[in-house]
Subunit: 320 residues, 2 copies
């Protein structure tokens, strides 16, 4: 059995390989060649949640197990911790245990990047990111792997939080200009691609169709019905909304609310995979890709990382 910690995973990452793994898993999803029970969630207390996310396919089987402990900053520990167990698909033997927070971060970044790859113009050079948390950090790096990004504009309601983020991101992307902004309006104006990665319950973008038009939006933050990052006026600019998985319609406030309020027709929401396959995405207009993620993506990303670890002799061997 192999154990891959955060550093191991980090050393094995090739953004484009993982985006390919996501594209492959999106195909498996569309073809329904997987078995995935509903996400299993145990609220142990108001601040402590345990999540079990199994997924099974012919080629790969595994389970991500995460704890979300809200009070962990006082122990200098991350909120999200856990592991991904990868099983031999024939025998069930656990072949590999991988740091679960890393898998979550890298796969969500890869899903966002798949969105950018297929919904934004190839000449887009200006990225805006609203929210500067852990996920924003992954998204920024992935975006730079699929587009020749020259400028990254940042916005956070707490301006101070941008400084450290900008510094860390500059280390990862030394050739890119990292530019804090003073308002979402400024950010939208300057950016071609806008990633939203906040837990906000009210829209983080201005409700201004003229400002929002013609840009490419990647919605990462909202994964619950009460979470909203997008304002009403954006929906009138869109013919389609692309999603990573169909059930995003039932999970994200950014899809539930506009359908309920009549701002958007639910049957104009379709998976990115199906839209790419039918070559129907118009990148010259406003686009919106909304992701909520699923365990299927985790196991394919984890499988790719495990395979590379074996090839490169990375990780800690455990005698079972």
């Amino acid at each position: 059995m192999l154990y891959l910690n955060r550093q191991d995973v980090s050393s094995l990452i090739d953004f484009n390989e993982l985006i390919e793994a996501i594209e492959h898993s999106m195909e498996i999803y569309d073809k329904k060649q997987f078995m995935q029970p509903d996400r299993i969630k145990v609220n142990v207390s108001d601040s402590e949640t345990y999540l079990y996310m199994p997924c099974f396919t012919e080629q790969i089987k595994g389970t991500k197990i995460l704890t979300l402990s809200q009070g962990n900053s006082k122990y200098n520990l991350p909120t999200i911790q856990g592991v991904m167990l990868l099983n031999d698909p024939k025998t069930g033997t656990i072949d590999c245990i991988i740091d679960g927070a890393s898998i979550t971060g890298y796969r969500t970044g890869a899903v966002g990047a798949a969105g950018i790859k297929y919904t934004s113009g190839e000449n887009c050079r200006n990225l805006g990111i609203i929210g500067t948390g852990v996920q924003a950090f992954y998204q920024a790096q992935y975006a730079a792997a699929v587009r020749d990004i020259e400028n990254i504009y940042l916005y956070n309601t707490t301006a101070g939080k941008m400084t450290d983020f900008a510094k860390r991101l500059k280390e990862k992307l030394p050739k890119v200009n990292i530019i804090p902004t003073v308002s979402p309006a400024e950010l939208v104006k300057k950016a071609d691609i806008i990633i939203t990665a906040t837990p906000s319950s009210t829209p983080v973008l201005p409700d201004d169709a003229a400002l929002l038009e013609g840009k490419h939006y990647i919605g990462i933050g909202s994964y619950k019905p009460n979470m909203h990052e997008y304002p009403e006026s954006i929906y009138k600019l869109l013919d389609k909304i692309y999603v990573d998985v169909d059930f995003a319609k039932e999970e994200s406030g950014d899809l539930i609310t506009p359908c309920e309020k009549g701002w958007f027709r639910e049957d104009n929401i379709q998976t990115l995979y199906s839209a790419v396959k039918s070559n129907s995405i118009n990148r010259n207009k406003t686009t919106f890709f909304k992701s909520v993620g699923m365990a299927l993506f985790d196991i394919f990303v984890a499988g790719k990382i495990y395979k590379k670890a074996l090839e490169q002799g990375i990780g800690q061997r455990i005698n079972q």
Copy 2:
């Protein structure tokens, strides 16, 4: 993070310590000082099941994750494989990963032994075991830890299976006579304590009240409604049936069927812990302890093993 494999666990086992851990967890159970969602079961195919068994208390939190792969004998691998994850109860950090099949075996053995300890006479010297699978092997060793067993009588419908079992058991218990029998009737006649550890769907004991009377029965095998190890006549010999957990009444055919058919009154089923506490067990009469197990027992057994591993410096250290 510490990893404890099968050999590590085996080297750390003190049967009486684990029986104490079970007694403590039975108290936690009776006082309802735990949170345990229903066991989560994913049938990936007819021969492949994934089980997730989380349990949370103030002192200890963890999840056992098992795969049951029926076809594994052809790969020379066990049917049951998996791990137990033990989390820091405050922060959720995984402190220890333990071989899950070992935990299952040792805790089930410890629960059976707690039954023997409190329901059988202290002078019982003759043990009978029906079924000679993995679980029977644990049960036999535990029984010898709580009673001065001189003879162990074995019965298996496939006589050949007893030979290897008897040989392996003799290595563990060199002072004890290990004696195969030709029928359950012979076994019951010779034994004082009878452990049943089979997956049978029809009774494995003769339906003969005179033969069955005055003995102490430990039912381990039946954990589903369609599994029955005990015949009708035993129920008339019993005032009470003791169980490890209340929901055994809903899970085991050995309790569901007699209540449905009117052979036994459901309100005469009570937890072993409550019966011990009220000092109400008459060990001079026929007794029956029925166990189905629960994740709460697993986490306390795992916690005890982890604590000892730390004290003795056993296990493989993993850099997280």
